[in-house]
């Protein structure tokens, strides 16, 4: 990612400068500085409580940072409501617990935001939904309710729902850690396909096989700070910090 020619200038799609976040007195993010380029796939790992979720949630302003700057797709995150709405339209998010809307069908889960926020005509939204369901491999489930689907299918619907807003960036917060092993595979498959389509992806995940294969960079958090940021090969074979080695030894 660093050897683009001058004509093919890299575009920094996410820029974080010295970001701090407190929950009450608890200092959850302690000066996070990083940059993500368009099309890059960044996998975030780190021990529990290290601030991975907090960081990823500040990027679409589900959490508010208190110091430092975050610029997403050219828009600075401030308290300006219009900016926040613009960012959220541009950034899709997938949660650990799926968070599908249980009272709506799969189809309606996907078309809701495009019709209400983007004012897309409903027949068009329906077509987009079907297309996305094909893409994540479950077009036959369109008329079911979320509770009637397996966990893996639900998570794939959640991905389709986020994609329906045609975001430039996708955030994943441990998308597979609530799933049984055989379902993890089907979700990772969809994510892999997404990564290959030049989507910018920020994913908290401890699926190291996936990270090794798909990520451009692996970022490790500890105690609210980034302690390592390397391409997968170097990260696994030649980490610079003791803490990374220690962490890897624990989860491998």
């Amino acid at each position: 990612m660093t050897n683009n020619g001058p004509m093919d200038a890299v575009e920094d799609i996410i820029v974080c400068r010295d970001v701090h976040k407190w929950y009450g007195n608890f200092h959850a993010l302690r000066g996070v500085t990083t940059t993500v380029q368009k099309g890059e796939v960044v996998v975030i790992i780190g021990p529990s409580g290290s601030g991975k979720s907090t960081f990823i949630r500040t990027i679409n302003r589900l959490e508010q940072h208190q110091r430092g700057d975050i610029v997403v797709d050219g828009i600075e995150l401030t308290n300006d409501i219009r900016n926040i709405d613009a960012i959220r339209r541009d950034v899709g998010m997938v949660f650990q617990s799926f968070n599908l809307f249980p009272h709506l069908t799969v189809q309606r889960n996907i078309t809701l935001a495009p019709t209400k926020v983007r004012k897309m005509p409903s027949h068009e939204a329906d077509a987009v939904a079907m297309e996305l369901l094909e893409r994540v491999g479950i077009p036959e489930q369109a008329d079911k309710y979320p509770a009637q689907l397996s966990g893996g299918q639900q998570q794939r619907v959640a991905i389709a729902r986020a994609l329906a807003m045609q975001p430039n960036i996708m955030l994943f917060d441990e998308p597979t850690s609530a799933l049984d092993p055989e379902m993890i595979k089907e979700v990772l498959e969809v994510m892999r396909e997404l990564a290959e389509s030049q989507m910018t992806i920020l994913a908290v995940s401890h699926e190291l096989g996936f990270a090794r294969e798909v990520a451009d960079r692996i970022v490790m958090f500890d105690e609210g700070q980034i302690v390592e940021d390397l391409p997968p090969d170097e990260f696994f074979n030649n980490p610079r910090h003791e803490r990374v080695k220690h962490f890897l030894s624990q989860i491998l």
Binding site: N60, L62, D85, R88, R89, V91, G92, M93, F95, S97, N99, L100, F101, P102, H103, L104, T105, L112, A113, K116, V117, Y145, P146, A147, Q148, A158, R161, A162, M165
Partner: protein
């Protein structure tokens, strides 16, 4: 060491002692010495009560008093001389209101496409129409009254056809038309000055079951949206809105309804000029509605609080603005989760309508009580022993309506269970 069993497809029947009546009795009623004693004692008490109950019901009771009171219990003094004039020709007005109800039932049946709605619609209509063939007369029950009762059948079919074959066949239209029908009912009952046949009938004379039902329907329909607004207001981030809602809710929940009704009659005339335009019945209706709204608000707030925070988060992450998140994601789920509590509140409201006796209105309960005391006091009426029958009849009437609501709510819950978390 374990015993390894070969996989088998043959199913064994359950042990004999756990099936059938004998098994059930043994497991549930006679499982120990103490339980056996308990079963025998309770059984004896129940049998004794049942015996005397049935004895009274089939030997001593005389329900002719209900027949005589009939029209009075249904509409109170609405068709009396003071209310309606010498001709006493007002009975058709509540009857036409009833036709509007069956019309709406017919439309609902067509829109719902059968099932429970269909069964309720047909049951109600048939029961109402059968009244036309009772061998005795309700209040001045001439052929016109009987005809209007039978007319409920064509009204039902007309409603069904309307919804089936015109553009009116959607729930949205049914809801709109139901509100129109209700307003029409009020106009019809109140009358229009100068229109022949529609001479105004003072609210003072509205009574009987009709009054209970009108108050309940208006109260339910109006209190529900107010309750939602209060629940949202109480969760608002604007301190003033929040404070107002909290104060409103806590005042109405903290004071007995009967006290509020007294206050509406005693305090309002003090605070406002004598010719305050709100009739005392209207004031009572407003109080009952607001009282119910305060409870509904708390039920809905409970439902909102119980929602997984991830729901609103997911909606916000998709770019839905706050009000749409509330309207499309939070509220529908919250309301669905508290349907039993809300219906419980509606049932309470229906029963509370009998408190309008405080302001001197003769609802179905107060009419019965008046009847009982008046004939005890001066022996005017010939049914000296018939008070029991009247109150038992009242209990049955209230039970039918309340159980009906509760049954329908159960069915709705099960129906909505499809998309449960």
């Amino acid at each position: 060491m374990s015993t390894i069993t070969e996989p088998t497809t043959t199913q064994l029947p359950p042990p004999r002692s756990e099936t059938g009546l004998v098994g059930w009795l043994r497991a549930n009623l006679f499982s120990s010495g103490f339980n056996t004693v308990l079963t025998v004692v309770v059984g004896a008490l129940a049998g004794w009560a049942l015996w005397f109950g049935l004895l009274w019901l089939f030997v001593d009771s005389d329900f002719t008093v209900i027949k005589t009171l009939g029209g009075l219990l249904l509409i109170g003094q609405y068709n009396s001389e003071q209310a309606c004039g010498e001709a006493r020709n007002c009975f058709w007005r509540p009857q036409v209101a009833l036709l509007l109800v069956t019309l709406m039932l017919g439309m609902s049946w067509a829109v719902a496409g059968g099932g429970l709605t269909k069964r309720i619609a047909i049951l109600v209509t048939v029961v109402v129409a059968l009244f036309a063939f009772l061998p005795y007369s309700l209040e001045r029950m001439g052929w016109d009254v009987r005809l209007l009762l039978v007319a409920n059948v064509p009204a039902l079919l007309l409603g069904w056809a309307l919804a089936r074959y015109t553009a009116l066949g959607t729930w949205r239209w049914v809801a709109i038309l139901a509100v129109v029908a209700f307003l029409l009912t009020l106009v019809l009952l109140r009358g229009l000055p100068g229109v022949p046949g529609l001479q105004p009938v003072s609210l003072l004379y509205w009574g009987g079951l009709m009054l209970n039902l009108l108050l309940a329907v208006a109260g339910i329909v109006v209190s529900f949206p107010i309750g939602i607004a209060l629940a949202l207001g109480r969760r608002s981030r604007l301190p003033v809105v929040k404070l107002l809602c909290v104060v409103f809710i806590e005042v109405f929940r903290g004071v007995p309804l009967i006290t509020l009704l007294f206050m509406s009659q005693v305090l309002v005339p003090l605070a406002f000029p004598e010719n305050f335009p709100l009739d005392s019945l209207l004031r009572a209706a407003i109080i009952i509605t607001l009282f119910s709204a305060a409870y509904t608000a708390e039920n809905i707030r409970g439902g909102l609080q119980a929602l997984h925070p991830g729901q609103a988060e997911a909606a916000r992450a998709l770019g839905l603005p706050g009000w749409q998140t509330t309207l499309l994601i939070s509220l529908p789920q919250a309301i669905r989760n508290v349907i039993p509590a809300i219906v419980g509140q509606f049932i309470a409201l229906f029963k509370d309508t009998s408190l309008v006796y405080i302001i001197g209105m003769l609802d179905i309960v107060e009419l019965s009580r008046k009847f009982a005391t008046s004939h005890v006091e001066n022996g005017m009426l010939p049914y000296l022993d018939d008070v029991h029958e009247v109150f038992i009849f009242l209990a049955v009437v209230f039970w039918i309506f309340c159980f009906g609501m509760s049954y329908v709510s159960g069915r709705i819950e099960r129906h909505l269970g499809v998309g449960e978390r």
